[in-house]
């Protein structure tokens, strides 16, 4: 990296993309937060923003911290990205049109009817797992459930669904540097990309899902056919991995906090609060970049134009200045709303009601059947550039009598 930091910025040697920091990110995130509101990460050639207030400021000031430069370390406007930019990688006015299209399709009113459709599969999986007593939350539940309900809701064909997880893995890993993790994720990139894009075409979508509704907006004259395909692609890439990780991380929190599980078991209506607190504490989408459009001052630190800013969502959501001295603990009584796990502002996750619904239904199904849940082995953290989750999370449950 030849880019030099602005004068007077604290320079840190930490590499947030090193395997050790990926496996256990929180000690490094604490260091970043404590080193200053904005620091310079030498190894990344980017400014690090890790405090809640500053992360919030960057997320909500979409004019100064733009998205069209890409969420990765490279500026995709100068250095063409690996695929056509998605809604995540766009700014107004293009973003505005796409966002309108997507919000018109996915909103609380259109998600509400899914509750009924999504409940049965959650209960079936829970029945099966509780009968087994021991299972792997990641492989047997977190990777299974969203793949069982979400692609149907979008309306994609059965064929090619095996590409969803590998494709999501590519998309999110590309928000980090081109390291070994990236290379591994991209080993069969063309195959996965082609399969996913095929599924986004109108003729391959059923008539009832969100995909077809997105395409309706082409007929309405709001978006182009190309934009429709990209929006369906965005649903498929953003809506699977994150939810898989959300389910795994939530159950990791609960398996480690028996008191919280007991409270949830007694009152399953707490499920949505349990989800929110888990998303705060173990945010699936941990970090991504923005690009500055103009020189500015953030947290008293000058940042030049055209700089990459690496936002640490996982750090902001544990900032003790926002969440108090017990920010690092899972507390079911906490008012966790306001966390930035789904982002904030213009690019805030459109699919968030679906993700919340899926995780909540899984918890409710388990809470109705499980007396206690505990770890049956050490969880294995997943090596991923920007997502936080587990490759394996073995648990043991005792059924409710």
């Amino acid at each position: 990296m030849t880019i030099a930091p602005a004068e007077g910025v604290v320079t840190l040697p930490d590499d947030p993309f090193s395997p050790a920091n990926i496996a256990e990110p929180y000690p490094m995130l604490t260091r970043l937060r404590e080193a200053g509101p904005v620091t310079w990460l030498e190894k990344c050639g980017a400014y690090a923003v890790a405090g809640f207030e500053e992360v919030y400021e960057v997320l909500t000031d979409f004019e100064t911290y733009c998205s069209s430069g890409g969420l990765g370390p490279r500026d995709i406007r100068q250095d063409a990205g690996w695929r056509p930019p998605s809604i995540l990688e766009s700014d107004p006015p293009i973003h505005t049109v796409m966002r309108r299209a997507l919000t018109g399709v996915i909103n609380p009113a259109t998600v509400r009817p899914l509750r009924e459709r999504f409940t049965g599969p959650a209960e079936e999986i829970a029945d099966e797992l509780v009968a087994r007593r021991e299972f792997d939350v990641v492989k047997d539940l977190a990777e299974k459930y969203p793949l069982r309900v979400f692609p149907d809701a979008v309306g994609i064909p059965q064929e090619g669904r095996e590409n969803l997880l590998p494709y999501g893995n590519m998309v999110f890993n590309a928000f980090g540097p081109q390291n070994e993790i990236f290379d591994l994720a991209f080993a069969h990139a063309d195959e996965h990309s082609a399969a996913i894009l095929r599924n986004c075409a109108r003729e391959n979508l059923d008539d009832t899902g969100f995909g077809a509704r997105v395409w309706d907006r082409v007929r309405d004259g709001l978006i182009t056919a190309e934009q429709a395909a990209l929006l369906v692609r965005a649903l498929l890439s953003a809506g699977v991995d994150t939810t898989v990780f959300g389910i795994g991380n939530t159950l990791a929190c609960l398996a480690r906090t028996p008191r919280a599980w007991a409270a949830l078991r007694e009152d399953p209506s707490l499920a949505k609060f349990a989800v929110d607190e888990a998303l705060r504490l173990e945010s699936p989408f941990q970090k991504f970049h923005r690009t500055t459009t103009a020189p500015g001052v953030l947290g008293g630190v000058r940042i030049p134009a055209g700089a990459k800013v690496l936002l640490f969502i996982g750090a902001a959501n544990r900032d003790p200045r926002k969440w108090g001295a017990n920010a690092d603990t899972y507390d079911l009584d906490r008012q966790a709303s306001g966390h930035v796990a789904f982002g904030m502002g213009l690019h805030q996750c459109v699919g968030q009601p679906i993700a919340r619904l899926e995780i909540e239904l899984v918890l409710k199904a388990l809470a109705a059947r499980v007396d206690t849940i505990e770890l049956a082995g050490e969880p294995v953290p997943l090596t991923h550039n920007v997502l936080r989750g587990f490759a394996s999370l073995p648990v043991r449950v005792t059924p409710r009598s």
Partner: protein, 330 residues
């Protein structure tokens, strides 16, 4: 103080009403009168925030909500502006015909369903008489030194209350769009480019607000805040579908035909529900929903509350399309 009366509503809240004197009644635009209300003993009103409204009890027949358009810094009086709507249900016409300077009226204390959040920038959108709640908001934003802009649309300048005064006071920040001069407000143009930290506050007729809602879907979630100055009229879509309402506590089931409201149907079978405006504006008839999906047509519940669907205003709201049966906690 004389004139205070109280009546408990079903949530146990006691809405206080008081007598006030209409000190001035001025014609401020074609078809619009402004009422300046003072207390009989000259004592100040309770503090209120921009966006607040009062219920005005009219001749024992009607209760109507009017947004306050005076200054919240000056509690010596309250001002509302009332548009005479020909063919309306009578509230505004009653005021236009009957209220004269010196008359006594009964009003509620100010209530706020349309509060303003602090932000760095504001875009205010007003359609017609929807300008009223916006006026105190502008005053607050201007005083706080915030960046703001108003786009105010109406059929003609002569019918647009306070338009001239706003231009005199605030100059370029105010854009008056009279339809007979410039055509309709270009909402798509105004809302095409979301701005960081800018909140949109809009008040006006249903059609305008629906357009604003659609356009703001491209803005950051939570940017848009609206108040309908009249609840959505029952549209042709809704009148097509009758539905049933089961009253869980009284064990009765009533049919709600296309030309009746839930409230009327419930009253028909002798179940009492406290209500006031019967237009989805005051929140008095709020009823818990046990099951079924309401289609909210009120102007009281927040978007979140409407999404949750735990309660509904049965004076205007109905069963959602495809939901043939609502179960209410009545």
């Amino acid at each position: 103080m004389g004139g205070l009366s109280a009546r408990a509503d079903r949530r146990g809240v006691v809405p206080r009403t008081r007598e006030v004197i209409a000190e001035r009644v001025d014609r401020v635009a074609d078809g619009v009168v402004s009422l300046v209300l003072v207390t009989p003993d000259g004592s100040p009103f309770q503090p209120w925030e921009p966006g607040a409204h009062i219920d005005v009890h009219l001749g024992g027949q009607y209760v109507r909500q009017y947004s306050l358009c005076s200054s919240p810094k000056d509690l010596s009086h309250l001002r509302v502006a009332v548009l005479d709507v020909p063919g309306s249900r009578g509230g505004s016409r009653w005021i236009h015909r009957n209220v004269r300077p010196g008359d006594t009226l009964e009003i509620s204390e100010p209530r706020n369903n349309f509060p303003v959040r602090d932000s760095r920038k504001y875009l205010f959108l007003a359609g017609g008489i929807g300008i009223t709640p916006i006026i105190p908001m502008i005053e607050r934003a201007a005083e706080a030194g915030r960046d703001w802009r108003l786009v105010y649309g109406g059929r003609s300048r002569a019918g647009m209350a306070f338009a001239e005064r706003l231009v005199d006071e605030y100059g370029d920040r105010v854009d008056i769009v009279a339809e007979d001069e410039r055509g309709r407000m270009d909402l798509a143009g105004v809302l095409a480019m979301p701005r960081a930290h800018m909140l949109v506050y809009a008040c006006g007729p249903g059609g305008m607000l629906s357009a604003v809602e659609e356009l703001c879907m491209g803005w950051p979630p939570g940017s848009l805040h609206t108040e309908r100055f009249a609840a959505t009229a029952l549209g042709p879509g809704s009148v097509a579908e009758p539905f049933e309402v089961e009253l869980a506590r009284s064990g009765k089931t009533v049919s709600v035909p296309t030309d009746r409201t839930i409230l009327e149907a419930v009253e028909d079978v002798g179940v009492r529900v406290l209500s006031s405006c019967r237009q989805g504006l005051c929140g008095t008839c709020e009823t818990p929903v046990v099951s079924g999906e309401p289609e909210h047509r009120d102007a009281v519940l927040t978007q979140d509350d409407q999404d949750t669907g735990a309660t509904m205003m049965i004076c205007v709201s109905r069963a959602a399309a495809g939901c043939g049966r609502l179960v209410l906690d009545l």
